[in-house]
């Protein structure tokens, strides 16, 4: 409100200001178009026949809508030598994401709790040690991880991939919960301890219900990161156990003969849909995670 008045002082030349406002909206609108254009092109292309793609324009709406590219991308397009569409790989991604997110989030929550509300000698040092995991380029662990997965008999498997994502997710989840819980007064925990509540009692009955926002932010962050991961997926899986990002890349790269752009686009949208939906439904939390997690890593 105060700034509204402040800007009001500048606003005295009202015609000029109105002109400026129009320009402002124009620029903002053009940028909105710039960001939306690729999504629009993807959608439009995915509903066109190949013939229409060749004859028409990139940004034209489809004249005759066809769902065939979507059906093909979902269940018959070839990924490498296998021609079953993206469906099996979507299931792989789900089977990978669900346990990886659940385990890494729980570990992060309990670590954050122990490191902030039950400080012990060395707890700050341990937090600093864990934090480094946020910053390393994963290339530096690819080779030993590949050997380790082989030794554990998890090479090329989805459980192996879950392990990788949990191990390298802990740093982020611990960071999120620690930063959240640092802001919560210790007095509640102290009171509960005097009343005789134990470590897990306080955690389950007091901290977990209070940390709901932290859980939402962490789950969304981890879900997006792990679903979108490509490096670990391509390095540690075989063609059967690939997550959908790897399958999408193979689908686009492997089409022999005629290039089916419409199927490529439908497949890309399918692969991106889960994270896009989460973003649209819970964008506020997504942004919060982004500024908390990405600033640090």
């Amino acid at each position: 409100m105060i700034a509204g008045q402040a800007h009001g002082i500048v606003r005295q030349r009202s015609l000029f200001t109105a002109f400026l406002r129009a320009g402002l909206f124009l620029v903002l609108g053009l940028f909105a178009l710039y960001y939306l254009l690729p999504l629009f092109v993807m959608l439009a292309t995915s509903f066109k026949s190949l013939e229409e793609i060749r004859s028409g324009s990139l940004i034209a709406l489809p004249r005759a809508i066809t769902f065939a590219p979507w059906v093909s991308a979902w269940k018959s397009a070839c990924v490498g030598v296998q021609c079953e569409g993206l469906r099996p790989y979507m299931l792989n991604s789900v089977a990978m994401v669900a346990p990886a997110v659940a385990i890494s989030t729980m570990l992060g929550a309990i670590n954050g709790f122990a490191l902030t509300k039950f400080r012990f000698p060395g707890s700050n040092a341990i937090f600093a040690l864990l934090l480094l995991g946020c910053f390393i380029p994963f290339q530096v662990v690819l080779l030993p991880m590949a050997r380790m997965l082989g030794l554990m008999g998890l090479a090329g498997s989805i459980p192996g991939l879950v392990l990788v994502h949990v191990v390298y997710g802990i740093a982020f989840t611990t960071l999120f919960f620690r930063n959240f819980l640092v802001g919560i007064s210790d007095s509640i925990v102290h009171a509960a301890r005097i009343d005789g509540a134990g470590f897990f009692g306080i955690f389950l009955r007091i901290i977990v219900p209070m940390s709901l926002p932290a859980f939402v932010v962490t789950v969304i962050w981890q879900f997006t990161q792990i679903w979108n991961d490509f490096l670990f997926g391509v390095a540690f899986t075989t063609s059967v156990s690939s997550p959908v990002t790897v399958a999408l890349n193979n689908l686009v790269a492997s089409s022999t003969g005629v290039k089916e752009y419409n199927v490529d686009m439908a497949a890309a949208i399918i692969a991106g849909l889960p994270t896009l939906l989460v973003y649209v439904l819970a964008g506020k939390y997504f942004i919060r995670g982004l500024s908390a997690g990405a600033v640090k890593g």
């Binding site: 700034a3 002082i9 500048v10 402002l24 903002l28 940028f31 909105a32 710039y34 960001y35 939306l36 690729p38 324009s57 990139l58 940004i59 570990l107 309990i110 670590n111 707890s123 040690l129 864990l130 995991g133 910053f135 390393i136 380029p137 290339q139 530096v140 662990v141 690819l142 080779l143 590949a146 380790m148 390298y168 802990i170 740093a171 301890r193 005097i194 005789g196 470590f199 997006t224 679903w227 979108n228 490509f230 490096l231 391509v234 390095a235 999408l248 890349n249 686009v252 790269a253 752009y261 497949a267 890309a268 949208i269 692969a271 991106g272 973003y279 942004i287 982004l290 500024s291 600033v295």
Partner: protein, 307 residues
């Protein structure tokens, strides 16, 4: 130890000595698995990779130290120079582009406009997408046959050519275009949050003094946002050095190896050429580069926080 903790220990003592011991150490016990995982999978693995980079390892790891052999080979490899040069071109333009667009959009959005939430959502949605999805989309848009080239030709500019995607010298710029599209919204969000934290009184005082809005921003507000600037810079540099998916999806590192980056170089050496030592050496170079950026930043952050 605090009185509460001692009380708790005494209370627990009734349930048996061993239980009291465990109960008093529960915080350490629950953190232990994560710490162990971190020591093995982060620190142990980094040590392994560094060690391997000093050996003659090829298809299989060998454990006899051979000094800087792999680093000498790495810096004798023309492809590594391509990757480094590309990192500078891509990193420089990517950071500059994201910063410029992000800051401008944040300032424009800060003018108390209607539908701000919707516009912000639109600017930021690419961040939710996988680089593989983004790369696939841009590969189609930028393809020389049916993409932008045909679109502009259709508008009457029949001589228009746009074949950067398959042009050795220009392909890296297509990665820049897609990268900026994906990440500039993130810089916008960071700066918008920063702008919102600036005290409104500053605007008021400066406006009374007769300063114009552009002057207020350039001389007062943006300098006050130096920490945000630094954060954004560090995150973008970090993103640029780790860039892998986008290149793979958009150009596959090609034409030839024209768009190789250190990350794709490392992957090719590790999983396609079976040059473990060389791959390890290039990974260590990436790690050193990132630490050179991150450690001074963290140091200044932590010092700032303590003050």
């Amino acid at each position: 130890m605090s009185t509460q903790a001692r009380n708790r220990d005494l209370a627990a003592a009734g349930r048996g000595h061993w239980w009291a011991w465990i109960d008093a150490r529960l915080p350490q016990i629950v953190v232990a698995p994560s710490l162990a995982a971190s020591l093995l999978f982060v620190y142990g693995f980094i040590a392994w990779t560094v060690y391997i980079s000093f050996t003659r390892s090829g298809v299989l790891p060998r454990y006899d130290i051979k000094g800087l052999l792999q680093y000498e080979r790495l810096w004798d490899t023309p492809r590594w120079y391509v990757a480094i040069e590309n990192l500078f071109v891509f990193g420089g333009l990517f950071i500059a582009g994201c910063m410029a667009i992000g800051i401008i959009l944040a300032i424009l959005l800060d003018q108390r406009i209607r539908a701000e939430g919707l516009i912000r959502t639109i600017y930021l949605y690419p961040m939710a997408l996988s680089f593989i999805v983004t790369g696939t989309a841009w590969k189609w848009i930028l393809n020389p046959g049916l993409g932008i080239e045909q679109l502009v030709q259709g508008w009457g500019f029949t001589g228009f050519e746009f074949n950067w995607l398959v042009d050795r010298d220009m392909a890296i710029y297509t990665v820049v275009i897609a990268g900026i599209w994906q990440s500039s919204g993130f810089v916008m969000a960071l700066f918008l949050a920063g702008l919102r934290s600036v005290d409104d009184e500053i605007f008021k005082a400066a406006a009374i003094d007769g300063a114009s809005l552009p002057r207020i921003y350039t001389t007062i507000i943006l300098p006050a946002l130096r920490p945000v600037f630094l954060s954004a810079l560090v995150v973008l540099a970090h993103l640029a050095i780790k860039s892998f998916d986008l290149v793979i999806a958009l150009t596959g590192g090609g034409p030839g190896v024209a768009t190789d980056l250190p990350a794709t170089f490392m992957y090719a050496m590790a999983f396609q050429r079976s040059e473990l030592g060389l791959a390890a050496a290039s990974a260590v170079m990436m790690l050193v580069t990132i630490f050179a950026i991150i450690i001074p930043y963290l140091y200044s952050e932590l010092r700032g926080a303590r003050r």
